[in-house]
Symmetry: C2
Subunit: 470 residues, 2 copies
Amino acid sequence: MNNFSATYTDQYQLAMAQVYFKKGHKDHQAIFDYYFRELPYNGGYAVFSGLEYLLEILSNIRFTDTDLEFLKSQAFEDDFLKYLKDFKFRGSVYSSQEGDIIFPTRPVLQVEANIIEAQIIETILLNLLNFQTLIATKASRIREVAGHASLLDFGLRRAQATGGYFATRAAIVGGFDGTSNVLAGKEFGIPVSGTMAHSYVQSYDDELEAFRDFAAGRPKDCVLLVDTYNTLKSGVPNAIKVAKEMEERGERLLAIRLDSGDLSYFSKQSRKLLDEAGLDYVKIAASNQLDEYVIKSLLEQQSPIDIFGVGTNLVTGDPDGALDGVYKLAYSNGKPRIKISESIVKITLPHKKQVFRIKDDNGKCIGADAIALSNQERVMQMFHPFEPYKSMELSKFHQEPLLQKVMENGEMLINKRSLQDISAYSRERLSELPLEYKRFNNPHIYKIGISGALRDEREKLITTYKEKLK
Amino acid sequence: MNNFSATYTDQYQLAMAQVYFKKGHKDHQAIFDYYFRELPYNGGYAVFSGLEYLLEILSNIRFTDTDLEFLKSQAFEDDFLKYLKDFKFRGSVYSSQEGDIIFPTRPVLQVEANIIEAQIIETILLNLLNFQTLIATKASRIREVAGHASLLDFGLRRAQATGGYFATRAAIVGGFDGTSNVLAGKEFGIPVSGTMAHSYVQSYDDELEAFRDFAAGRPKDCVLLVDTYNTLKSGVPNAIKVAKEMEERGERLLAIRLDSGDLSYFSKQSRKLLDEAGLDYVKIAASNQLDEYVIKSLLEQQSPIDIFGVGTNLVTGDPDGALDGVYKLAYSNGKPRIKISESIVKITLPHKKQVFRIKDDNGKCIGADAIALSNQERVMQMFHPFEPYKSMELSKFHQEPLLQKVMENGEMLINKRSLQDISAYSRERLSELPLEYKRFNNPHIYKIGISGALRDEREKLITTYKEKLK
């Protein structure tokens, strides 16, 4: 699934590219910043996801002959189509690592390439990074509240068509343990698991017989769904009978699953029945419209739930439909570039840049990233990007440069990690962030500043354009 | 993109299928209902989408050799894997037509197949129909308020990864005219269009020169983005200069695009400037966080906008992340089946069924669909599905059967229509629905009832299971 057509783009990228081509701008070098403006979920951080997948796509993306035929039918010109026939992304990418925690305004990634290549890849870059970062962030929030419980992605049926495949990938980056999605499991090496559906139990005349057959068929990972008819009067007692029969065969029932009703009440009652039957090893799985708030509440009520299956709210990123990531020109043809706007927060930052994470002597984040020009090695003082009188002294802190060159001439420079490794890295980075940035209600605001040199460069450009308009 | 692996499913489908296989249930015939419980957007109707695409998938879906190897590594057994090697969907599908308006509780589609096939396709069926129905419904709401304006899908960059491709398909079903998504345009025969990005204008030292080059490159569909620096002082005056130069060459500027600021104010001011310059034929396109409410308000303010580009809120279905469509067993192995629940609205409807749309003598919907047993030709009286004392006389009305056989033995029985034809059908069906069901605030509730015969069958099953639990 990593063989994408370069037509996975917006038409205007190609329209602009053709103009660049015809006007002889095709070798103009450009730098674009990828960043977002608002944290999802009113949260305190986001988890960057999609990078390693994107880099694979970028190293493979091409126009096929049928793509070019289609573009010809769309009035693109022959000399330009001939150029596209040899299209390949040959640029460089500077980026935060996948799994790192990221914050608004600061470049998360920079693309440096000729302007045609940089423009054609914009759409797929935004498409893959925005969505996976949204879902990894959601998953990370759920992981934060779930303690030692297992977290499984059950979302494919409510996912946005094939977007579900990417949702699963991002869920693992954010801290989930496994998925029900067989294809994603196969492609990404993710542990795949599942239980049974109500339809399975319904298809039998008798719940006990249904459970028995299932245990016989899956003795090593048997999970019985206990709420088809009546959880405490029928489902759990039948599961206990089957668990006892399994014991006689030297097997162990892995878990029961609750999928309706008050999960706190039913998990406690079920735990009691299981324990009374000597089945303290049988786990309890729960599903049904879960999200970080419900799971937090269930665990605060000391609900004995060991496994959470999370579906719709995970894979759709509900209640936020999208991360508002953008891709803005910062430099082209030897000159810094800027977009002016009536609203100062929409004015872009010119030039190639570096971003520093500010840390104390113990390696803990102090809650600030500083954006600098790429040739700055440290930032002594950072300024609020939009409020000129706010600044912060940084000279006494450690400064970790965040943007690393991860692609050069269209070739990946980093080794691909497993999703589990990316996830472990993400958890480690998150552990450097103080708790006040992780709470759900009014989290502390992580500071993003710009260096004096960058601020001055931006001011110069704004002044130039204001002069022009007079 | 219609070659899906049968591993595009939840693991439990395969776990259950293996049990059915081993227990000799593999030829048990089953009937599943696809339906949803709540209308999205607190709206009065939904638009069914995804069917024709799904049927193509179902007629092609297989397990590849690498799929089977993967399943072997997941502890599936050899004899079952051998069976899966020849897997093909050989069932029948009875369905409402794609594009029809649909309502909660009533089956939108029924699958009749052996229980293994019916179970394995559940996930992809839900995945494709839930999402496309959600987005077609959103698109239809936007179409309802947009009058004669053109509606373009600009959402790919904020879409849920490759889900964006399906969002575009569904947007056309719901009433959109075109898309920026080149791949979707190519695959589905959708008109593709686009304008230019701010980065294009920024990449020039001079906005006027940027506009000139673009007009030279795309003389037939030139749209100029006028808000990079200053809409009224720079963008529109430069666009007017270029439009005049185009006139001298016998060309016409198609449109200008506004992407920020107060779209009502700027569209009126821009219209005035264009008209004063004799450019009354130049259209105005607008984009930036649009949805049905914003477009309705813009048009109520008489904003002279001819083209709306809708992105994030269309393709993500915001504010609703998903349609809650489910797939429930109604019949298997010669017996009607039911799922009991503490909550009556979650009790399923047994048996193979038909659904009738109730209409008056003029072919207008009276606002009711009646669910019957499949052998009933008419419904004389329908009952509220969950409130036993509510009923409605139907004998004097026309009754249109909604579920048609669209697939038999895994082969499509209907001719594939273009998306534009599906869309036209959808608009026609929507025109049969009175306005009170289409308003945004507290729309009138469309009635769904069940026939007396179906109600009695359900009661019988509930009684049987309650007896068992005593």
